[in-house]
């Protein structure tokens, strides 16, 4: 793990991105965009598919059960595109809206999604010289899973923004397709617990922790993040524990030399 490109998958990854030309060093160090990277990013996103599919199936099924129209269900998945906030949104969904219930659902959505500010902050150096419009699209498609895949690639020395956009775009398509399937077939999906599918996201995230491991000291903030999220989870209802824990980890990272 000492070299910037690591072992195993990283070698495969960087080899793909640079294609062995003499400018290979430059292209791994300077942010750029390639359509080969876009395609490779789409392939890198495959391990996140099971989690996305299960979550979107569950959302589609819950929305149908709650009595949302197909248009409303797909509208939430297509425009909000943030699973946890969509699920929480369903809990306070109304048949007849008032200005105050609309304000409530917007506020709750903001609280659940505030953690995305941190994700965006880490991407800024990578996107600095990108065209504004492409960054606007890239950020619209930003999700935790896609960001973790791209962060792994970035930490191994890759700088192709195509990886970011490619992995994000394919996950968006998977999300919409599985929402649709869940809306119509939700009742027929077998008990996901039996196959451990309720835990597919935690398992995927834990796996992605492995390539991020650079020793005990750099991981101390992770411990702080975990402990704070446990405490907040025990004391505050909802999803605030994610943002609180992540922020605590960042602060710990700033304080530990």
């Amino acid at each position: 793990m000492g070299s910037p490109f690591g072992i195993g998958a990283p070698a495969r990854l960087t080899g793909k991105a640079v294609k062995g030309t003499e400018q290979s060093l430059m292209s791994t160090l300077r942010p750029h965009f390639s359509s080969a990277g876009f395609k490779h990013g789409a392939r890198l996103a495959v391990p996140a598919f099971p989690g996305f599919i299960m979550f979107a199936l569950a959302f589609g099924a819950a929305a149908a059960q709650k009595g949302l129209s197909l248009g409303e269900t797909l509208g939430l998945s297509a425009f909000v595109y943030a699973g946890a906030s969509q699920m929480v949104g369903l809990e306070i969904w109304q048949k007849v809206w008032t200005p105050s219930t609309i304000l409530t659902i917007i506020t709750v959505t903001a609280v659940v999604n505030v953690r995305m500010i941190l994700l965006g902050a880490t991407l800024q150096p990578w996107l600095r010289d990108e065209p504004k419009l492409r960054s606007a699209l890239n950020l619209f498609l930003l999700t935790e899973a896609g960001w973790i895949i791209s962060t792994r690639y970035h930490s191994e020395g890759g700088r192709d923004v195509g990886i970011l956009l490619g992995s994000a775009a394919i996950l968006y398509v998977v999300w919409l397709g599985a929402t649709l399937a869940g809306y119509f077939a939700g009742a027929f999906v077998p008990d996901p617990r039996r196959f451990g599918l309720d835990l597919v996201m935690p398992v995927f995230f834990s796996i992605m922790l492995v390539p991020l491991w650079k020793g005990v000291r750099p991981a101390l903030p992770w411990l702080v993040a975990g402990l704070v999220s446990l405490v907040v989870h025990a004391l505050v209802p909802g999803y605030l524990f994610i943002a609180a824990g992540a922020l605590a980890g960042v602060v710990a990272g700033m304080l530990i030399e």
Binding site: G8, A9, P50, E72, G75, F79, V80, S85, W93, Q94, V96, W97, I102, I105, I106, T109, A110, N113, R115, M116, I117, L118, G120, A121, Q124, P125, A136, L139, L142, E144, S155, R193, R194, G196, L199, P202, V203, F204, F205, S206, I207, M208, L209, V210, P211, L212, W213, P218, P221, W222, L223, S229, L230, I242, G245, A246, A248, G249, V250, G253
Partner: protein, 108 residues
Amino acid sequence: MTAFESFVAGPWGAAVAIAGMALVTYLCRIAGVVVMSRVRITPRIERGLRALPGSIIMATILPVVIDAGVPAMLAIAAAVFVMAVTRIDLASLAVGLGAISLLRALGV
């Protein structure tokens, strides 16, 4: 009743709610980039951001995994072990999910 009140009480209410949720979510998505492009990234800020990927993973999964109990912890340990040895993410995912279904089938 104001015009806005009667508008959102009608068939467009759900569309307004979705548009509001979408807008506030997009603001969260772009805010980090917009703010950081105006802040000078000091070594301290860089250290903090470098700690973020692992921190957000821990903050997301730890409460969920502890609520899910011993089978989940054992399965995640197995998946992480396979990943550390092989670095093949799909195989590790399969091992983790396989372990959970097995442990649950055995009634652990």
